[in-house]
């Protein structure tokens, strides 16, 4: 029974995908959308059942379908497991997934390929479930690359536009750089542990008599982390995520904010017992996370495209999660993943609602004053903005505070970096809020006439997510954490408890004051002074560097892409000619040396055959007569 339900959970979105792809064209757009939403809702319902079961003390569910691959050192089973961690992830993947499907029915209304849109979105959910549910690294890898494919398909959904296609391609290729790291990591782990099953590896480690080369294990975890960098957009592989905003906004909300980009955090949490053994790699993770958080937040300060701001904010928040992972505080990272999923999905969907009202305009310089016409969007957006800025009692406050508190106890520099990033976050989020919803409208008269609040299919998910963004912190309150309790079977190292003493309250105070400073500056600049960012060419100085994202894309093009093309040109024009000339030269030589050579060059096939047969005969004769 459990096996069948687990398969239903996995396969319902796949069925939705197949139906939409094969018969979707004949259905009306709304039916496609309902089909897609129901498929994911079914998965959510099953997830909820299992979640309650496991949360109530039930055993994890294991499903072993068949042996998939056999290698010299290890076997790979097509197997799935539903334990605390995978169910927690599935809860918000399918839950938020359902909401975003519903939202999309209205948002994508009238698109000629709407059935494909829902098909791809369903396929994404299917692969995401595979990623999370797999019981070994290779099943995770199927999902891992599968979500990458869906991301590619959905970023480039409006494929007539080549800029969008470029963004899609970039996302796929950059992810593949990480994926190579992931693969190498799998190879080493399979070689060391003779298994790629989580449970086997964990048992091998906890059994106590582990006899493996720690250097190789370190290389393996580093390689896995490279994989995580690709999928979760960390330095140096983060530049695809802002470009990925080319996709429809609900896609940005689901894939590029709430779910897919958290896959790297899932993977590291899943393998916490491995990463705990390699403290050097953990340090790297913490440092990369902290600096990604800072760099992305600083770029976010100067962006004018509403979705770009949110994208950099996502990169920055993911950086904070990696900071927590690197410090070994997996439960804290997971906590922030969840609250972030709530408020960031809400923010993206809110921005979608705004873009919808603005008829596709994404530049905040041409917005303003929208709170007057878009009440629900504004309120939900405000709640989520407060949550991401880290003000109590909103959910983001609790999770972010725990990350910073953990950092404080391990390394003060990382704490300072994380805190600065958080202050910046508060600033640019309120800058976004003020520019979009306050003051007067700065768009055209035409746009102004059509401004409207979005229909209820759009506002309903916003309201649900805003409520979650408001109260989501309750799953792990300081001193009384349901989440830590729930995750304890998954995490091998004991969870650090920070006493709710003076230090803790002091740190909270600092965090709140920091957030208020960020908000205050934004208020002063954009409300008091009524500043509006100027045109692109008017941006100068350091703002220009920030606005151009530290020119990282240009640098990558110059040091990686261009040299590859140059090498290609060299191969094509020099080595190929040389190889071919060499062979041809040999032919010429033979030609010059013998008159027979000239006869062979005449291209008469009859002659070849004759020579061939004669040759064979003479060889046989030679052997025969010898």
């Amino acid at each position: 029974m459990d096996t069948n339900l687990a398969l239903l959970l996995l396969l319902a979105p796949l069925a939705g995908f197949l139906l939409n792809i094969f018969i979707g064209k004949k259905l009306s757009g709304n039916v496609s959308g309902i089909l897609g939403s129901v498929a994911v809702a079914v998965s959510f319902a099953v997830t909820l059942k299992f979640f309650l079961q496991v949360n109530g003390g039930g055993e994890p569910i294991n499903v072993n379908l068949f042996k998939w691959m056999t290698l010299a050192n290890f076997d790979v089973n097509f197997a799935f497991q539903l334990d605390q961690l995978s169910l927690l992830w599935l809860m918000f993947v399918t839950g938020i997934g359902t909401l975003i499907h519903i939202y999309s029915i209205s948002y994508m209304h009238g698109d000629e390929n709407i059935h494909k849109y829902f098909g791809y979105l369903n396929l994404f959910v299917f692969f995401m479930i595979t990623l999370v549910m797999g019981s070994n690294l290779l099943i995770m890898f199927i999902g891992w690359e599968g979500v990458g494919l869906c991301s590619y398909l959905l970023i480039g959904f409006w494929y007539k536009n080549h800029d969008f296609n470029d963004a899609a391609k970039k996302a796929f290729i950059m992810n593949r750089i990480g994926d190579l790291g992931f693969l190498i990591g799998i190879f080493i782990i399979g070689y060391l542990f003779h298994s790629v099953d989580y449970i086997d590896i964990k048992n091998a480690i906890t059994s106590g008599n582990l006899d493996i080369d720690m250097t190789w294990l370190g290389i393996a975890t580093l390689c896995l982390f490279i994989g995580a960098c690709g999928k979760s957009a960390q330095i140096p592989l983060y530049t695809w995520l802002p470009d990925a905003m080319a996709g429809p906004t609900p896609v940005s909300a689901l894939i590029h904010a709430a779910t897919m980009v958290t896959a790297g955090i899932f993977m590291i949490t899943r393998l916490n017992f491995l990463f705990d053994l390699t403290p050097d790699v953990q340090n790297i993770i913490a440092i990369v996370g902290a600096f990604t958080s800072l760099i992305a937040a600083s770029i976010g300060l100067a962006q004018n495209d509403i979705k770009k701001v949110l994208a950099y904010s996502t990169v920055s928040q993911l950086g904070l999660m990696f900071l927590a992972l690197g410090l070994g505080a997996y439960h804290v990272a997971v906590f922030h993943v969840i609250t972030h999923a709530f408020f960031k999905a809400c923010l993206f969907l809110g921005s979608g609602s705004v873009i919808h009202a603005m008829h596709g305009e994404q530049d905040m310089r041409y917005m303003g004053g929208l709170r007057k016409v878009m009440g629900v969007t504004f309120i939900t957006f405000l709640i989520s903005t407060l949550a991401i800025s880290g003000l109590p009692p909103f959910s983001g406050f609790f999770s972010k505070d725990e990350i910073l508190m953990t950092a404080f106890h391990h390394n003060k520099v990382l704490w300072v970096v994380g805190s600065i990033a958080s202050i910046m976050t508060a600033f640019y989020m309120f800058r976004l809020l003020y520019l979009t919803f306050y003051k007067d409208f700065r768009g055209t008269e035409e746009q102004k006439k059509h401004l409207h609040e979005s229909p209820s299919l759009i506002t309903f998910p916003l309201i649900v997510l805003a409520i979650l963004a408001l109260v989501g912190g309750a799953i792990s309150l300081p001193g009384h954490s349901w989440l830590n309790e729930y995750l304890s079977p998954i995490l091998t190292n004991h969870i650090e408890h920070h006493e709710l003493g003076t230090t803790a309250y002091m740190l909270m105070g600092i965090a709140i004051i920091g957030a208020l400073i960020g908000i205050g500056i934004a208020y002063f600049k954009y409300i008091k002074q009524g500043f509006v960012p100027g045109k692109d060419e008017e941006i100068t100085g350091f703002s220009k560097v920030l606005y151009n994202k530290f020119y990282v894309d240009e640098i990558y093009t110059a040091i990686i892409v261009k040299p590859i093309y140059a090498l290609g040109a060299f191969f094509k024009n020099v080595t190929e000619v040389a190889f071919s000339g060499f062979i041809f030269g040999l032919g010429r030589l033979a030609n010059a040396l013998s008159t027979q050579g000239k006869v062979i060059q005449n291209g008469s096939i009859g002659f070849y055959l004759l020579v061939f047969v004669l040759g064979i005969c003479s060889i046989i004769a030679y052997i025969f007569l010898k």
Binding site: W68, L149, G156, I173, R176, I184, I583, I620
Partner: protein, 480 residues
């Protein structure tokens, strides 16, 4: 019924196809090749039941030449690849109105006959005869029905013929030398030839030249791109889908077990050369402006990885090589078919002149996309299984080889997606792309079904081939 029956069907089919005339030739070829495929399945079924399906008959006693057709997991799998792809290749030609089509289809079947013989032959000389025999039909197919200017084409095709023929002569010399040592051409006798290290090295190199040109491995690949581009689609498919696998298969069947010491001693040199080919081919693919040439260089990269895996001398490498030979065979036929369909409709092979196809035929775009994803070894496709095993075998040799060989998953995605974008996406241009016909769609579906099914459940193939590989591995590891 033994394996010789399949060869007879193919040979008889070639003759019969020629005599039914131009009008019915394509149908006759389809029927005979499908029969051969069905017969292969039946033979495999009998083989699995433990019945004897090999065929051994002494042809002449001095020199001792045996008409020996050996059926084991390895050869039957390659036979299956040949007879499964032949009807598909025949199907892909249905849309073309060739002059003298009876000769064309007869030559395809004759080629399948020669290739099947190469895979099955247990006697070195017989093997060599089949090996060279397969060159003749492809020569005519490329020469007569190819595209482009006739003079230029003739030059490229003749170059290809002489080049591969010359390479094979070194193999022949190796065989004759082995005969003088052992008095036999039978592969089992050759495996136990007790050669000195120097002898092994020269034998190894003799085989290597023949195979390196056929596969091809850099720097012996210069014939490839031009021939792939100029041959008619069916010819390119025969070459890339099946014929080059003759050489990859022969590495495992002949070269490694006959000269195991050399294989072990110089392992890293050959792996490195093959891995260099992976990167070289991938980077060159990025610079191609002609769709078929791009696919040719991509094929160069993929087969380089297969050869590299075989030279690791590990069970994973050998098995990966077999899996990837099948997977690559199907995917490359599918990709060249897609290229053919585009050039039939757009009357061009230049990537820059394409674009706007997806908007006109979503079905074609989806099928092409799946093939592209299989080509870049997305998990869930059969190619992933092959590439995973191959890269894992490289990792066992040296982790850096796996990293370098693994760049194919990045570069492959780079050039394939770039190609897909330029060829398929964008807004509708002035050119009209007629939606795929039922026949075309059916052919794609067959190929895709194979790639996806075995991607999810590869064991029918891996379990089938593994016992034979383990046997051959015993000889490969037999170094005194």
């Amino acid at each position: 019924m033994d394996v010789s029956f399949i060869l007879i069907i193919l040979l008889f089919g070639a003759v019969a196809t020629y005599f039914v005339g131009d009008k019915w030739a394509s149908k006759a070829a389809l029927i005979f090749s499908t029969c051969a495929f069905a017969a292969t399945l039946y033979v495999i079924y009998r083989y699995n039941m433990g019945e004897k399906v090999s065929y051994l008959q002494t042809w002449m006693s001095r020199p001792r030449i045996v008409i020996g057709l050996q059926a084991d997991g390895m050869s039957l799998l390659m036979l299956l690849l040949t007879t499964a792809l032949t009807p598909i290749i025949v199907l892909t030609s249905f849309g073309n109105l060739f002059p003298k089509s009876r000769s064309f289809y007869a030559l395809i079947l004759f080629m399948a006959f020669a290739m099947a013989g190469t895979f099955l032959a247990v006697d070195g000389l017989l093997y060599y005869i089949f090996w060279e025999l397969s060159l003749i039909p492809i020569y005519f197919i490329a020469l007569i029905w190819g595209s482009g200017e006739a003079e230029r084409r003739k030059k490229d095709v003749v170059k290809f013929f002489i080049y591969t023929f010359a390479g094979s002569l070194f193999m022949l010399v190796a065989f004759i030398y082995l005969y003088t040592k052992t008095g036999s051409f039978l592969n089992l006798h050759l495996y136990n030839a007790k050669l000195t290290d120097t002898e092994q090295l020269w034998i190894f190199l003799g085989f290597f030249l023949a195979y390196a040109i056929k596969i091809p491995i850099i720097p012996f690949h210069t014939w490839q791109a031009n021939v792939y581009q100029k041959a008619p689609a069916a010819g390119t498919m025969l070459l890339s889908g099946i014929m080059l696998k003759m050489a990859l298969y022969s590495i495992i069947r002949w070269q490694l077990p006959i000269a195991p010491k050399a294989a072990h001693d110089y392992k890293y040199i050959f792996i490195a050369l093959c891995v260099a080919g992976v990167i070289y081919g991938s980077i060159l693919a990025l610079k191609q402006t002609n769709l078929k040439k791009l696919l040719a260089y991509s094929s160069l990269a993929h087969v380089g990885l297969i050869a590299a895996g075989a030279y690791t001398l590990t069970i994973d490498g050998l098995r990966g090589a077999f899996v990837q030979m099948i997977a690559h065979g199907f995917v490359v036929v599918g990709l060249f078919y897609a290229a053919e369909i585009i050039s039939r409709r757009y009357k061009t092979e230049e990537i820059a002149e394409m674009g706007g196809i997806r908007i006109q035929s979503a079905k074609f775009a989806s099928m092409f996309m799946i093939l592209v994803m299989a080509s870049v070894a997305l998990p869930g496709t059969f190619n992933f299984i092959g590439e995973f095993e191959l890269l894992y075998s490289l990792a066992q040799a040296n982790i850096w080889l796996a990293v370098l060989g693994g760049t194919t998953i990045i570069l492959g995605a780079f050039y394939m997606l770039r190609m897909f974008q330029q060829v398929m996406l964008g807004d509708k241009g002035t050119k009209v792309f007629k939606d795929v016909t039922f026949g075309e769609g059916f052919t794609f579906v067959l190929i895709i079904a194979v790639l996806l099914f075995f991607g999810l459940y590869p064991r029918p193939i891996t379990d089938f081939v593994t016992p034979s590989l383990q046997k051959v591995l015993v000889y490969i590891n037999q170094i005194n």
